[in-house]
Amino acid sequence: MSASRPSSAASTLVPIYLVAHRYMLYDVDTVSALRRDHHIIGTLIGTLPQSPQQNVFCGLPLELMPEEARLLVEVGVAYIVDDVKAHKQGFLDRGLSGEERKMYVNALQRQGADAARVTRMRAAERRERGLAQRREKQARKDLIKSTIEGVDTQTEDGSDNPRDMLTDRTCMTESGSVSTVTDKTINEEEEMQGDALLFTSRENSTSVREDSRSATPASVQSLRHKLAPLPDDEIQPITPTTSYPPLPQHPNEDSPPLSTLPLPTVPTSYPLFKFLHSRGYFLAPGLRFGCQYMAYPGDPLRYHSHFLCNGLDWDQDFDLMELVGGGRLGTGVKKGFLIGGEEQEGKARAFCVEWSGM
């Protein structure tokens, strides 16, 4: 999909959304373009609210460090948007018209209905598979028993499945009516019938009645063809992940700018960050090693980091113990410890420390 449309990062400025002091990106094309073209990686923070995880396998959205956001703005690739304000402006003030809003809500409802249908279909298929497996198992058992004992397994009562259920199914192939029906099968059938009504769609008007009694997966498929309206409480509510179908993603030139903000505030290590970034390093947060950044010589998916970085003011006092600690930690994890800062206006200088081995 990204191959078909031009990279938006190249042609227009990329909005970075400021939400409660965090700089976020929600669009996967933007994220990959930034990674590829500007070697800014950020941190993926998308995870399920019910089961949060702290590994690297989270999904969108991407959170940027303030240094990364500031660098992108300074380089002229992105601009910061106050997300709350932009949403208020977009939805309430400048507003979607009543019609647009209605259309959007209907679209969401349709998505929810489709999702509900898919869930039911999957549940029905699962149930079908389970029943088919049990039938097979029972059939195999019966076969073995019949070959060993030569007993008519139709009347055998050794299995733990109610035999009527199974026998009914096997002789119930094309007939329109069911010969012997037990309670269990009645319930199942009714459920199947109820489901059958759900699985139909308007396009195909094949009759359902005959199919509803047999329970093979193929017939379930055909049950989808007739549409019946879903009860309201069965439609799944959809939370949209981006607001940018209804809102315009990039502001038009003639419309007023959507609350762009000044440069993000950054810690004093920013000159070092900029210096390393200009040398082509990929920088990631260094919290897991107790430093400010980790510098990778290439994409983190391909390389280990080379340096643990701390940025300081040129005249800032630091304890030699910190240098020693960083140097030893770095040597222990096969990385160098890098400290640096801005020596003169616009010029940064860095020093690397490692244990000598003496």
């Binding site: 020693v324 200088r349 020093f351 081995g357």
Partner: protein, 238 residues
């Protein structure tokens, strides 16, 4: 066999002083050095450690910036230079090159590499430094310590292996400045020159950022050494 004492400079041996203490007493700073006494003593203590714990040779004490560094006006504190017994630092790319050359020549393992002269900046572990101090130190030092600069320190000439008591600490006042004449006492500990004046300096030395050894002296008198590079240098494979 003891060398003739330069009676004007050496102090009489005091058996109550430790070897290190005597050594410090015997090596007074030159008159034109502007550094404080404690900086000088710190440097001497580190020099002592280099010589006796790590077997460094040709240890010199520098009070002024390298002659090559014309822009630097002073050295923040005395700096030591010396020759380690083995090569101390090899850049990872140089490692690869050496191994490739070995393979081309059909040899296995590591070849003999000549040791290189290194700078040592002494410091106490409780000190607080700034980036500016590191910058100043690097700006005042050349990439490779020159062999004839700085003042030579004299240690005991009779190198006994039976402890400090047997050593005679023949202290001579270390000369100051560059190229100052030393007394005629021959130096027992080594006349072996490293990259002698005839050799071209290793391209890995001059092509890579400068480096110094930062010596950190702790209160328990242990000294630990860290390599500090003036630039971005990737870590070694260890």
């Amino acid at each position: 066999m003891s060398t003739p004492r330069n009676s004007s400079s050496s102090t009489p041996e005091d058996p109550t002083l430790s070897g290190l203490h005597q050594f410090i007493q015997d090596n007074r700073p030159p008159r034109d050095a502007t550094h404080e006494a404690h900086a000088h003593k710190l440097a001497l203590q580190v020099a002592h450690n280099l010589r006796f714990q790590h077997g460094w040779t040709e240890i010199r004490l520098h009070y002024h910036p390298s002659r090559q560094q014309a822009t630097a006006h002073s050295l923040p504190r005395p700096v030591i230079s010396g020759l380690p017994p083995q090569r101390l630092y090899m850049h990872p790319d140089e490692q690869i090159e050496v191994l490739q050359r070995q393979r081309e020549q059909g040899k296995a393992g590591w070849p003999e590499v000549a040791p290189e002269r290194e700078w040592v900046v002494p410091s106490q572990l409780q000190e607080s430094w700034t980036l500016r101090r590191f910058g100043d130190v690097f700006d005042a030092l050349s990439a490779v310590p020159a062999e004839k600069e700085g003042g030579r320190l004299h240690f005991a000439n009779a190198i006994q292996l039976d402890g400090d008591e047997g050593l005679e600490m023949m202290g001579n006042r270390s000369g100051s400045g560059a190229g100052s004449p030393f007394n005629s006492t021959p130096e027992r500990e080594g006349t072996v020159t490293s990259n002698g004046n005839g050799h071209a300096p290793n391209k890995w030395r001059t092509g890579q950022p400068k480096r110094v050894l930062l010596a950190t002296l702790d209160d328990d008198s242990t000294v630990v050494y860290y390599i500090v590079h003036d630039g971005i240098v990737k870590p070694r494979q260890n």
